[in-house]
């Protein structure tokens, strides 16, 4: 049946003109992709689910023993793990809120006729094109209390950004905001430029204030695309690793992925780390689902 549908597709299509049937396309492109996904994504995913119920250690030749829900039970009862989750949540909130405010603000500024707008936009996009590790290393220098340019410029003396346990997480979040606000800006800019001009004209005729125009016209129309940016950034911030790992080793910045890395590759508790990875996966799925539901609601409006 499926084959019949595929072969009767539009004979004027480009692939048909090239002499490639839909079947050939399926065999050539789709099947290898699916096989690749199954072998490298789905299979390890299911395999690791199995491991999460065992005491398997990749560093030991000893056979894995089935331990049931013990890994999950112990992880969810571990106060250190909960503190890692709390740190991650705090980081996600600070970082994503910061990126939305900065990114959307810059997009609003750029969404008007200004000279060199193209060049300015391109320059503003540079941070997100850099590698995380590089950004981490040079922000470490910028934050340095003895010779860092940030303290020098702001006149903060030898303020300790990364060594101060209360400040370190914010310092990492500021770096993340610097790096990823351009992403929110780019998407917001696309949304802003799609808002029909006549709506603003009508508002101007009705003598609507700029505050009213922003909350009644701009924000509702940009909201769906802004939500997409927020979903992406939340998922990324939730699994952040590089920046926090490179910038500081404060326990107050030990986000869940750093704990997971240590558990899996320093302690070699493979079974338990699989269980933790699943807990993280379920949390990300749940958060994303809430967002997507909200996104659909926003779209319906």
């Amino acid at each position: 049946m499926a084959t019949a549908v595929m072969t009767t597709l539009d004979p004027k299509s480009r692939s048909a003109a090239r002499g490639m049937s839909d079947l050939t396309i399926r065999n050539l492109f789709i099947i290898p992709t699916i096989v690749f996904l199954i072998v490298f994504n789905i299979f390890p995913l299911i395999y690791s689910l199995g491991y999460s119920f065992t005491d398997f250690r990749a560093s030991s030749p000893a056979a894995a023993n089935f331990v049931g829900l013990q890994n999950y039970r112990e992880l969810l009862n571990d106060p250190f793990i909960w503190s890692n989750f709390a740190i991650t949540a705090k980081y996600v909130i600070v970082s994503v809120v910061g990126q939305v405010i900065v990114g959307f603000g810059v997009a609003l500024l750029l969404n008007r006729d200004i000279p060199l707008k193209g060049l300015l936009t391109t320059l503003l996009l540079l941070p997100m094109m850099l590698s995380m590790a590089v950004v981490g290393l040079f922000w470490k220098l910028l934050y340095d209390p003895s010779f860092g340019i940030i303290n020098y410029t702001l006149g903060l003396g030898s303020f300790e950004w990364l060594s101060n346990p209360d400040m370190a997480l914010y310092a990492v979040a500021i770096t993340d905001i610097w790096m990823w606000s351009p992403f929110v800006m780019l998407l917001s800019l696309a949304g802003l430029s799609a808002v029909p001009k006549h709506l603003y004209e009508a508002a101007a005729i009705d003598r609507a204030g700029s505050f009213y125009t922003f909350f009644r016209i701009t924000l509702p129309l940009v909201a769906p695309i802004l939500m997409i940016a927020i979903i992406f950034r939340t998922m990324e911030a939730f699994k952040t690793f590089d920046l926090a790992y490179i910038l500081t080793s404060q326990p107050t910045t030990e986000v869940i992925s750093i704990r997971l890395y240590k558990m899996a590759f320093q302690e070699w508790q493979t079974g338990r780390s699989c269980a933790l990875a699943y807990i993280v996966l379920i949390m990300i799925l749940a958060i994303t689902n809430i967002y997507v539901k909200y996104l659909n609601k926003v779209k319906e409006r």
Binding site: Q250, T252, Q266
Partner: protein
């Protein structure tokens, strides 16, 4: 057609034959180690082996921060990328029990290495389990924690006078931890951008723990009973509480932003005129007497970790032994290399190049002890060293210690007693989990 086939086959055969013979001549060995100066010295040393035997030896390195992860990932995958590894002393339990290292007991006994190498290096780098007579590596790079200091600051007459007036004794190389603390306090002048002391605080691997161990061992404490796995009353003993408090106090005399410091930062404290004294492994001292890397080379002095309040004097052990990896396809060749490596001439050359030989004969020679300003302190220290747990679950123990101790030292959380009691409970739970204790 037949003729073509025959000639083709002959051609393939010839290529294969040439390939095999080329392969036989070009035997290669790869040694895996961390990225630091001693690895460069080792590369220079093994170049001599290539000149002698024709076997090319490459020392492959990776940064310290992922040395352990990379090595064990390769071991766990039973990979043959490396033939030998200069592995950290605390890996020996994990690597030997999992079958990653070749048993070198026969080799050890045949060459009487127990006598040839310094006793502490045999105990901590080679033997596992403790006192079992089973050996898994050849002590290669002896190392321990020592101290460097600014001789010009110490010998400044004005400073000496002010110090004596304040503390009632002469300013000089600290004779115990109390003096170490006083001197750190004395030189700690944030207004002048001069600070008292540089210590290890990085908690991503073993830096902070090694630093704390220097205090614990010299205060007469222990981490636990390595034979029975008993920790309660040992890790949280009265001495250890005092030692941890002393280490925390030293942290208050460090330069600003000193919460992730390891060997690079601690050497910088001397080269950048930041601190009066700096803790570091002896392996990093060659850079401090080199004027190209230390503008203060001429005025930098060295001393061994001072004794604690009861006169006990110990230091945290660093250093590594060289082991043959079970999955190597060149084990025979690797053993030949080790036979060359343990020769007296090779060990002497190794020391000359900058490597810290573990050979007792070389260490004891006046030639070695006078070669650098710190060799004598190194020789003395190597007979007073203690190490962290070497059990297969050492990484969990290390992370637990970091988790408990780091917030106390750098973030003022809890008291030393609370921290060590909690650590004793963590370690007990871990040993129970692996059935070490009931």
């Amino acid at each position: 057609m037949r003729k073509t086939m025959t000639s083709m086959l002959a051609g393939i055969g010839l290529v294969l034959a040439c390939g095999t013979s080329v392969y036989a001549q070009d035997k290669e060995l790869t040694i895996f180690w961390a990225e630091w100066d001693p690895a460069n010295y080792l590369q220079e040393l093994v170049n001599l082996y290539e000149a002698e035997s024709g076997v090319k030896v490459t020392v492959e390195t990776t940064p310290w921060s992922d040395f352990q992860t990379k090595a064990f990932t390769e071991f766990n995958a039973k990979g043959s990328a490396y033939d030998m590894v200069v592995g950290d002393s605390q890996w020996i339990g994990a690597a030997s029990e999992a079958g990653h290292y070749v048993d070198l007991t026969d080799f050890f006994n045949k060459h009487n290495l127990k006598e040839v190498m310094a006793p502490a290096t045999v105990k901590y780098y080679a033997e596992y389990p403790s006192n079992s007579g089973k050996y898994w590596s050849i002590p290669a790079e002896g190392d321990a924690v020592g101290w460097s200091y600014r001789k010009d600051w110490f010998e400044d007459p004005k400073e000496m006078e002010a110090f004596k007036a304040k503390y009632g004794y002469d300013l000089g190389v600290p004779k115990d931890w109390k003096q170490l603390r006083d001197i750190a306090e004395f030189f700690h002048r944030p207004d002048e951008k001069r600070y008292g002391v540089a210590i290890y605080t990085d908690n991503s691997y073993d830096a902070l723990v090694m630093g704390v161990e220097n205090a614990i061992f010299s205060f007469g404490g222990e981490l636990g009973d390595y034979a029975t796995y008993k920790v309660d009353g040992i890790i949280n003993s009265e001495q250890n509480v005092k030692a941890l408090e002393a280490y925390k106090e030293l942290y208050s005399f460090t330069p600003p932003g000193w919460a992730k410091a390891f060997f690079i930062e601690d050497n910088q404290a001397i080269t950048e005129n930041l601190a009066a004294m700096s803790m570091n492994y002896f392996a990093f001292f060659p850079a401090l007497i080199n004027e190209a890397s230390n503008p203060n080379a001429k005025v930098t002095g060295f001393f061994a970790n001072p004794p604690g309040p009861n006169g006990d004097q110990f230091a945290a052990l660093g250093g590594q032994g060289i082991s043959v990896i079970s999955y190597s396809q060149n084990q025979e060749e690797a053993m030949k290399f080790l036979e060359w490596f343990i020769k007296d001439e090779t060990q002497k050359k190794w020391a000359e190049l900058g490597g810290y030989t573990a050979s007792a004969k070389v260490l004891e020679s006046p030639e070695f002890q006078n070669a650098t300003p710190y060799n004598k302190a190194f020789y003395e220290t190597m007979f007073k060293v203690k190490d962290f747990w070497a059990t297969p679950e050492y990484a969990e123990l290390l992370i637990q210690m970091n988790q408990r101790v780091y917030p106390y030292i750098t973030g003022n959380q809890g008291t030393a007693k609370e921290v060590l009691d909690a650590l004793a409970a963590d370690w007990n739970a871990t040993f129970k989990k692996y059935n070490r204790v009931k």
